[in-house]
């Protein structure tokens, strides 16, 4: 802990994201932000906090509740050389505007044979655990990752959040940037000590598509992302008390998927547990396990395991929702089972 000195700033994830956007807006006049309640409110989850005061309403544009129009407008503006950031307040709302996202934003570069670029960033809030019910608690990153043509970035820490946002804005491709409400460091969410951390003041990038070992370990690899990284780290702390050293690999996004990092880690630890807040079937957990089997089957000492959200809509009542979500205890239990203890 010697690194922590008074000279290093502590930022919440939300502040880290808005700082990255502000720095890119200063650097590049083509960058602007659109979305619902992203101006005076600063974004419902704080991702655009302070931007309106700094840049004014021409570059920080509150929109009507009209996602098809403004996300489509982001695509159209990007085709004319702008670099829009459009916020989809909750990822659960994609149903009202998905055509612009997957049929236009994600396909125009391809359909044009590479002649046109669509540098749009869509920011969107994901995740549950706070009793918001079936239409405001989903993660859904597997849906976006399944559809070709858009990068999918999902940070878990303030440091990664800033660097990945900077990288996303500078990327010439469409990027869906998903932040979990539980990692933003919001005063009105359940406190999360990992949602505040040291963040350099200067602009920097974290490469899109590179996983990060958040905790090294020798006995098993826990592959996960977003808030589940925090849960897995808590589980790893508990497991360490029992002599089980779990490696926690944070994917930091799904597209491109860092298959090499998955394979490299699994070759060392010989055991894989995937922890996924998205629905269990046809999604991230299956893809990560496939990546491990394709590249490192002979190294595996046990069948890969997964702990994911069951294939059910997300219930409202606390005991129902908490039953469904992976947590440090269930992660630790799955890890023990995997290592045979």
């Amino acid at each position: 802990m010697a690194q922590i000195t008074d000279t290093k700033r502590l930022l919440t994830t939300a502040k880290a994201i808005s700082e990255a956007i502000a720095q890119e807006m200063e650097r590049d006049p083509n960058v602007f932000v659109m979305g619902e309640d992203i101006g005076a409110y600063g974004g419902i989850f704080g991702a655009t906090d302070g931007l309106l005061a700094k840049f004014g309403p021409d570059r920080v544009m509150d929109t009507p509740i009209s996602e098809t129009a403004f996300i489509g407008a982001a695509v159209g503006a990007a085709l004319q050389g702008m670099r829009p950031i459009a916020e989809l307040m909750f990822v659960d709302f994609f149903g009202v505007c998905m055509d612009q996202i997957y049929n236009h934003m994600a396909k125009i570069h391809y359909e044009s044979g590479g002649n046109l670029k669509v540098p749009v960033v869509i920011t969107t809030a994901i995740g549950g655990g706070y009793g918001d019910g079936a239409q405001h608690s989903q993660t859904l990153y597997g849906v976006f990752a399944h559809l070709p043509g858009m990068k999918v970035v999902i940070p878990s820490t303030p440091y990664d959040a800033k660097g990945l946002m900077t990288a996303a804005i500078r990327d010439d491709n469409p990027v869906v940037y998903m932040f979990h409400k539980g990692i933003m460091g919001l005063g009105w969410m359940t406190p999360n000590s990992r949602a505040t951390d040291h963040v350099p003041e200067e602009a920097y990038t974290v490469p899109i598509g590179k996983a990060d070992v958040k905790r090294p370990g020798r006995d098993l690899t826990i592959v996960t992302l977003s808030l589940m990284v925090h849960r897995a780290l808590d589980a790893a702390d508990a497991l360490a008390q029992e002599g089980i050293e779990a490696e926690v690999l944070d994917l930091r996004g799904l597209v491109p998927l860092d298959r090499d990092a998955i394979a490299e880690s699994v070759r060392r630890t010989r055991r894989l547990l995937v922890v996924d807040e998205d629905y269990r079937s046809f999604g991230m957990s299956g893809e990560v396990i496939t990546a491990a089997i394709e590249a490192a089957f002979d190294y595996l000492d046990a069948p890969p395991a997964r702990l994911a959200y069951p294939d059910t809509p997300i219930p409202y009542s606390r005991p129902l929702e908490q039953f469904c979500l992976p947590n440090p205890d269930t992660i630790a239990a799955a890890a023990r089972q995997l290592v045979g203890r």
């Binding site: 009507p64 098809t68 129009a69 159209g76 004319q80 050389g81 055509d99 396909k107 391809y110 044009s112």
Partner: protein
């Protein structure tokens, strides 16, 4: 009123589109007889032709420059050509060739051309939001370019239509919405799908001008579009134009049109807008019959060259299907 030169150009653009599409229609049917197989022949897939709708494209695009953004629908050829798209690259894309606009990755409903700032969408009404975005960019960039979005009357019942017009009106963006009302949304006529007779009236709901061009007349389209585009270009915001145009063919090639009375088609063919316009030009001594015939011959030669280019161009390497997912 358009000048005589402008009248001749309107005529030329309509003829080019008609000859191009008649030629595409023949090529499309190659390999598809006697049994119609949509996947067979040099031009597979769906084919939506715009015969009868040429006045809309010609009349509107006459006021545009290539830096103006245009989005069209699943029926885009007449608009693309009127906006100046290279006919050879268009033909090659339709034939799926490597020399096409998108190296064969787009096809006839997904044409994107950086040179003429042209795009289209095969999804009804979903080309409209990107036009709004282009107009937003022009305003931010201080350009006096405008965006024009073409769509059918069926699109006017989609959410994207209303969302796009609201946003454009709210932000006073330089965009012109052009509704090509050909009466038919595939097989469902407008009066069975739309609660009011004229979509141009819907402009009032968003506080913008709405113009109705009632008889598929290219000069009337030219004049309505000229006003709307000038208005957008000088920063006075969006407009909606509805043109009651004619669909002389099926929704797509191979459409048996069992839903459409045979006499309607005869009536529409009898009032073919290009022939009607040509008669007016001759009557007003703007063109002689020799000159109009020359325009058809020149279009024939241009189209033949474009189709020859498309036919003789190589297909893309199969594995290039995997390229251009990301920049």
């Amino acid at each position: 009123m358009p000048t005589d030169d402008e009248l001749r150009e309107l005529h030329r653009q309509m003829v080019r589109a008609r000859v191009f599409e008649e030629t595409i229609q023949k090529a499309y049917l190659e390999g598809k007889t006697p049994a119609f197989d949509i996947a067979a022949g040099p031009v597979p897939g769906e084919m939506h032709l715009a015969a009868g709708q040429e006045p809309v494209a010609a009349g509107v695009c006459a006021h545009l420059r290539t830096s103006d953004a245009v989005t069209a629908s699943h029926r885009p050829h007449h608009v693309a050509l009127a906006h100046g798209m290279d006919m050879s690259k268009l033909a090659a894309e339709i034939f799926g060739k490597d020399t096409g606009l998108g190296h064969g990755k787009g096809g006839h409903m997904h044409l994107f051309d950086a040179e003429t700032n042209f795009g289209c969408s095969g999804i009804i009404a979903e080309g409209m939001p990107t036009a709004v975005g282009a107009a937003l960019a022009f305003k931010k960039q201080g350009r006096d370019d405008v965006a024009v979005s073409f769509f059918g009357e069926g699109a006017a019942n989609q959410g994207a239509f209303h969302e796009s017009i609201n946003l454009a009106a709210l932000w006073q963006l330089p965009v012109v919405f052009v509704c090509e009302d050909n009466t038919w949304a595939i097989s469902v006529p407008k009066d069975k799908a739309t609660a009011i007779p004229n979509n141009s009236d819907r402009a009032a709901a968003y506080g913008i001008p709405g113009a109705l061009v009632a008889d598929n007349d290219v000069v009337a389209v030219f004049e309505a579009a000229g006003e709307a585009i000038a208005r957008a270009r000088r920063g006075d915001g969006p407009s909606l134009i509805e043109v009651q145009t004619d669909r002389l063919l099926g929704h797509f090639e191979g459409d048996p049109q069992v839903y459409r009375p045979a006499e309607e088609l005869e009536k529409l063919q009898a009032r073919d807008a290009i022939r009607r316009f040509e008669e007016q030009l001759v009557a007003k001594d703007v063109m002689t019959t020799d000159e109009t015939a020359g325009v058809w011959a020149a279009a024939r030669a241009e189209v033949d060259e474009a189709i020859e280019f498309a036919r003789t161009s190589p297909y893309p390497e199969p594995a290039s299907a995997l390229d251009h997912v990301f920049a």
